[in-house]
Symmetry: C2
Subunit: 421 residues, 2 copies
Amino acid sequence: MSDSLKEEIHRLGAQALAASRELAKLSTEDKNRILVAMADELVAREGPILEANAVDIAAAKENGLTPAMIDRLLLNPARLAGMAGGIRQVAELPDPVGQIIEEWERPNGLQIQQKRVPIGVIGIIYESRPNVTSDAAVLCFKTGNATLLRGGKEAIHSNLAIAAALQEGGARAGLPEHSIQLIPHTDRATVKIMAEMDQYLDLIIPRGGAGLIETVVSLARMPVIKHYDGICHTYVDKAADLDMATAIVLNAKTQKPGVCNALETLLVHRAVADTFLPKIAAALKEKGVEIRGDDATRAILGDDAAIAATEKDWTTEYLDLILSIKVVKDVDAAISHINHYGSHHSDCIVTANTNAAEAFLAEVDSAAVFRNSSTRFSDGEEFGFGAEIGISTDKLHARGPMALRELTSYKYLVRGEGQVR
Amino acid sequence: MSDSLKEEIHRLGAQALAASRELAKLSTEDKNRILVAMADELVAREGPILEANAVDIAAAKENGLTPAMIDRLLLNPARLAGMAGGIRQVAELPDPVGQIIEEWERPNGLQIQQKRVPIGVIGIIYESRPNVTSDAAVLCFKTGNATLLRGGKEAIHSNLAIAAALQEGGARAGLPEHSIQLIPHTDRATVKIMAEMDQYLDLIIPRGGAGLIETVVSLARMPVIKHYDGICHTYVDKAADLDMATAIVLNAKTQKPGVCNALETLLVHRAVADTFLPKIAAALKEKGVEIRGDDATRAILGDDAAIAATEKDWTTEYLDLILSIKVVKDVDAAISHINHYGSHHSDCIVTANTNAAEAFLAEVDSAAVFRNSSTRFSDGEEFGFGAEIGISTDKLHARGPMALRELTSYKYLVRGEGQVR
């Protein structure tokens, strides 16, 4: 790794730290005014941003990226307007910073407050979607944090243009210098430099595939909040309303199969397997879903309707129109399967039996556990948080949909009148 | 690293994970009954525990450990009774697990609860004090977590005896098998194996010196909560009551100089330096405190009363009767010094001026910020938390005094009636 690259990124880190001290002083009104200015500037720079994007798109085509990958890179006036609209929405959200979480008085008269404050400097390492530049920077800014962004090489021109619009547009409304910085390099060495730079970065959030997250986890000296796979389950209990179960399974699997809260494995109580499996298989077939079943499932559906699931299927996030199905003997077996094979993301029980439901909700060790509703609701907006930076599969600091509050820390303020020990 | 050592520690990890599922099902009453049984067993095994400790003490003497180190290792009936008493106190504390942090209904009728749950499996890596075996395991257990403990080699016999008493005593009252496990090896390879074992450990807490923490931070794949140095400051403002300032500085420096919330650097506003410095220097001299001053301090006190501070003094945690002193031009200069040289632990302003105080409390980026009170109050018991596992210098998940609540995670429970997207 070249010394100059490290020096350059460390300089950006030091600048971000200095910016974070200024950001912590901004009022909610200041921040909201700056957010609106950022949104305005994104729209005002539509021409240059789309030109920069065209450079990325041309390179993507030349490099033979798939149509799906090119679509993820593509910006157009509607998508840019969507990004600007997203910023205006964030301006409307309540600001968690400054909130007094708790306050109390000690017997010796000390007054203690626990107050919500920004985290400081957040590193975001992401892959090809240029909208992450705006989405992530804006959520971090709303909560008073400086960001150091490192996007993928496919989107570098788009990312630079978007970051410049946010920083420069915001600056005219009072955004401190260096609050939002994009690293203008995309080689892998930059990830290592950032991950070791704990004198400047309080947190790194990797947004992307398992390979990127794994690299950051293995290198990082500072806290990392991970958004790993969602190997989500729905368990159809013997006491399930089977029409409801059909609607929930279909929705969770097919409404948007490429996302982390989509269903990947269906577990069915053996007492209802004979009735439910043919019913759900017909509905899934209509939606073009491939079924991979265990022996009991294939015995009921026939080998043509369900190919044989292997051990690997139970730990696979398909993100596609594929569903693995297993027959289980009871709710305890369902819970054991989920805790063993799942990714602790979002899992559901369909049942009219409250005892079974409450056992499932208590014992499934996942960020979000559902009764009689689709796992697709495991989402910051659906939870009412207004926006999310991702769905954390970690258990510390942030678990599940991670929104503005999870982008804050706290400090204790203690006021006395000369107390000593 | 031998394969068998890794296999052995992974087996302990898998056992801890299985135990954590059982621990999560215990009621508060179950846990409190188990805690009392643990305390009873520690006392009942006084003989064997003190015998095990005598083996460690003999080895320590043979290996030429200092009297202070030997004292940290030493157990006696009074210290063992203190450990048991500590466990009984933890049994009396409120249990945060199961608390509904928030609950709300969405417009589509979904009922969402955010519920406090155990973290899972916590690794504790610590050095020579055998009481950590009990203190850490018991706090983790009260919050429904399994522990995998790895203590220092100096205390291995004591630690094994204490851990066995807790696990076996607790088991008779219903403690799940493998809830509290001590690794019976102390070579450095064990630290690396634990730090990479993120399939079993949700969190590692290193308790010890900077070298141990640094090793864990650089190797760990899972979250680490660090309890780094406390380079604590007191700033005496121009509007300070100088008698109050004297009492606070003396207390923070001398009441217990070897702890992380003790004062290390005194900052004095130049407008009161001529009056305050001779007054505090006389009081400090009486307590045997060595002063290391900047030029302005030495000009006032004389070169005999204060040796010259070097740049390194501003970043040194003395943990001893030594105090560095600097004259600053105003509260902003004090804040800048603290944010630049401090360790973001605990810092205090002494002033009658509320504007200066509030600027200091808002802008000093530390876990605990004090007005007109000793930094020695930065402590879980002094904050009213009943017990603490340490004082976190991290900003994520836990900051400052880390007590039972910070040993928990949360999950979302979502209850519906067939809702889909």
